[in-house]
C-alpha cells in the first residue's frame, strides 16, 4: 500500500494514472460512438439500442466505473498541470520552441477542461433531464437538440475538442506507459490518428446529418 501511494505521488506514477484512465475513456468513446451510429438507421433503431442498454442490470455499475474514470483523470490532470504551470516562474522573453510540440500537445490542459464543461451539458441533456420526465423519446430528444443551432454548435465544437485531445493523447499514453519501441512508434502514432479520425467522423457525422437533413 505504501509503495502504491508513493507511486501515485510521483511524477511518473501520476502520468501512468492519466494514461490508464485516458485509454480506458478512449475505449468507452469508441463503444459510445458505435452505439450512436444506430441513429442513422432511424429513431426506432436508436431507441431500441438505448432500451437494450438501460435494461441491462449492470448499467449502474458501468456508469459508476465511468464516473470514477473521469473523476480520477480530471483530478490527476489538475495535479500534473498545476505542477507544470509553476515549474518556470521566470518566463522566457523570446518565444521558446524547437518545433516538436503541436497545437494538440500544447492545448491538452485547455481541451480537457472544455470537454469537462461539455460533459456536464451532455449529461444534463441526455441522462439527467430524462429522469425528470415520465415519458420520453430519447431519439427525438437527440434530434431536437442537434437540429437547434445552439445545440449543433456546442456538439460539433466539442467533438472537435475530442479530436484535438485525442490527436496527442493516444501516442502520448503509450509513451507514458513505456511502450515506445522504435519498431512500434509509427504503428502507435497511426493507430492514434485512425482512432481520432473514427471518433470525429463517427460522433461528428450525426449532428451534421441531422442538422442538414432536418
Amino acid at each position: 500500500m505504501n509503495s502504491f501511494i508513493r507511486f501515485l505521488s510521483s511524477s511518473i506514477g501520476r502520468k501512468y494514472v492519466m494514461a490508464v484512465t485516458g485509454l480506458s475513456l478512449t475505449l468507452f468513446l469508441l463503444v459510445h460512438m458505435a452505439g450512436n451510429l444506430t441513429l442513422y438507421a432511424g429513431n426506432d433503431a436508436f431507441n431500441e439500442y438505448a432500451d437494450l442498454l438501460e435494461s441491462n442490470p449492470l448499467l449502474p455499475l458501468a456508469e459508476a466505473g465511468l464516473l470514477v474514470l473521469f473523476v480520477v483523470h480530471i483530478l490527476f490532470a489538475v495535479l500534473l498541470t498545476g505542477r507544470n504551470k509553476t515549474s518556470r516562474s521566470d518566463k522566457y522573453q523570446s518565444s521558446l520552441g524547437m518545433g516538436a510540440k503541436t497545437v494538440a500537445s500544447t492545448t491538452m490542459w485547455i481541451t480537457g477542461p472544455v470537454l469537462l464543461v461539455f460533459l456536464v451539458i451532455h449529461i444534463w441533456d441526455f441522462r439527467i433531464s430524462k429522469e425528470l420526465l415520465d415519458e420520453y423519446d430519447l431519439a427525438q430528444m437527440v434530434v431536437d437538440r442537434l437540429r437547434h443551432p445552439v445545440g449543433f454548435v456546442i456538439y460539433t465544437a466539442s467533438i472537435g475538442m475530442v479530436g484535438l485531445h485525442m490527436w496527442h493523447a493516444f501516442q502520448s499514453a503509450f509513451q507514458t506507459l513505456g511502450v515506445a519501441h522504435p519498431r512500434y512508434r509509427s504503428l502507435i502514432q497511426n493507430t492514434g490518428r485512425l482512432i481520432t479520425a473514427l471518433l470525429v467522423a463517427g460522433f461528428g457525422g450525426i449532428p451534421f446529418y441531422l442538422f442538414f437533413t432536418g
Binding site: 501520476r14 507544470n84 515549474s87 522573453q93 523570446s94 518565444s95 521558446l96 520552441g97 510540440k101 509513451q175
Partner: protein, 257 residues
C-alpha cells in the same frame, strides 16, 4: 582607429540578459559587436565582454569550459532555442556563419525554477548532480580493466547504452521543455546503466532514487511534447523516457517497503 573590414565580418546586435543574482530582477542589455563568421558564439560573447571591460563596465557572466561540445557548461538560450538554432550543436560549437550581417540575436539563461540564475546567463544546475547521486552509478569494484569477454553484453544494448551515455548534462532538455521537466536527462543517465549487466544490482534502487530526486528538485512533468529531444545537442531519444517510466513502475512493483 579605423578597422579594416575583413571578408566574413558581421555586425551583430546582441540583446543579452543581465541579472545580478538568484531572484533579482533582470533585463536585456543591447550591444553591438563586430563578429567574424569563423568565430564561435562564445567567442562573440568574449569579444563583447572585452569591449565591456575596456569601457569599464561589467562583463556578462556565462559558463564555459571545454568549448568543444563535451562538457555541457555553455548553457544559454539563443532566440528561444537552447544552444541556438543549429541542430545537435552546443552553443560553443555554434559558429557565426549561421548568422547574417545586421542580425539581432537575443540571449537569455535556461529558465526553470530548478535551475536558479546565478548571474546573467549562468544557472545553478546542481539539481542534476543530486539526481545523479541518487542512483546514477554502479557500485562495482572497477580495479584494473577486465577482459573484454569476461562479461558478455549484447550489441543492441551496448549501442543504446552508449547513445544514452552521450548525454553531457547540459540541461537544454529542461530549458526547452514547456514544463521544465528533467525526464530526458534523468532517463539518459538511468538508461546508460540499466541497459548493461553491470547496472543490474542497483536497477530498482536506481529508478526509484533518481526519479524521486528529480521530483524533489521541482522539475515539471513530461507531457510528451518531445521538445527536449529536438533541443538535445547529443540527440538523446525520448525512448529513454519510456524506458525510465517502465523501470519506475517495475521497481515500484518489486519494492518491499
Amino acid at each position: 582607429m579605423i578597422q579594416k573590414k575583413n571578408h566574413g565580418d558581421l555586425r551583430i546586435v546582441l540583446e543579452v540578459w543581465r541579472q545580478n543574482g538568484p531572484g533579482a530582477p533582470g533585463a536585456f542589455e543591447e550591444h553591438e559587436v563586430m563578429a567574424n563568421e569563423h568565430m564561435s558564439f562564445l567567442e562573440l560573447l568574449d569579444v563583447l565582454n572585452e569591449q565591456l571591460v575596456e569601457s569599464g563596465r561589467d562583463p556578462f557572466v556565462f559558463e564555459h569550459d571545454c568549448r568543444e561540445g563535451i562538457c555541457g557548461s555553455c548553457s544559454m538560450t539563443i532566440d528561444g532555442k537552447p544552444h541556438g538554432p543549429r541542430d545537435r550543436t552546443t552553443a560553443c560549437q555554434l559558429h557565426m556563419r549561421e548568422y547574417r550581417n545586421g542580425d539581432r540575436v537575443r540571449v537569455e539563461p535556461w529558465r526553470a525554477n530548478a535551475f536558479p540564475v546565478v548571474k546573467d546567463l549562468m544557472t545553478d544546475r546542481s539539481a542534476f548532480d543530486r539526481i545523479q547521486q541518487a542512483g546514477g552509478y554502479v557500485s562495482i569494484n572497477t580495479g584494473s580493466a577486465p577482459d573484454a569477454h569476461a562479461m558478455p553484453v549484447n550489441k543492441e544494448n551496448a549501442d543504446m547504452a552508449f547513445d544514452a551515455a552521450a548525454c553531457i548534462g547540459c540541461g537544454a532538455c529542461v530549458a526547452a521543455c514547456p514544463n521544465a521537466s528533467a525526464m530526458l536527462f534523468t532517463s539518459a543517465k538511468l538508461s546508460q546503466y540499466t541497459l548493461l549487466p553491470q547496472g543490474q544490482p542497483e536497477r530498482d534502487q536506481r529508478a526509484l532514487g533518481m526519479v524521486d530526486q528529480m521530483d524533489a528538485e521541482g522539475f515539471g512533468n513530461c507531457t510528451n511534447h518531445y521538445e527536449c529531444e529536438a533541443a538535445c545537442p547529443k540527440g538523446i531519444s525520448v525512448t529513454n523516457i519510456a524506458r525510465m517510466n517502465r523501470e519506475y513502475a517495475r521497481a515500484t512493483l518489486r519494492r518491499r517497503d
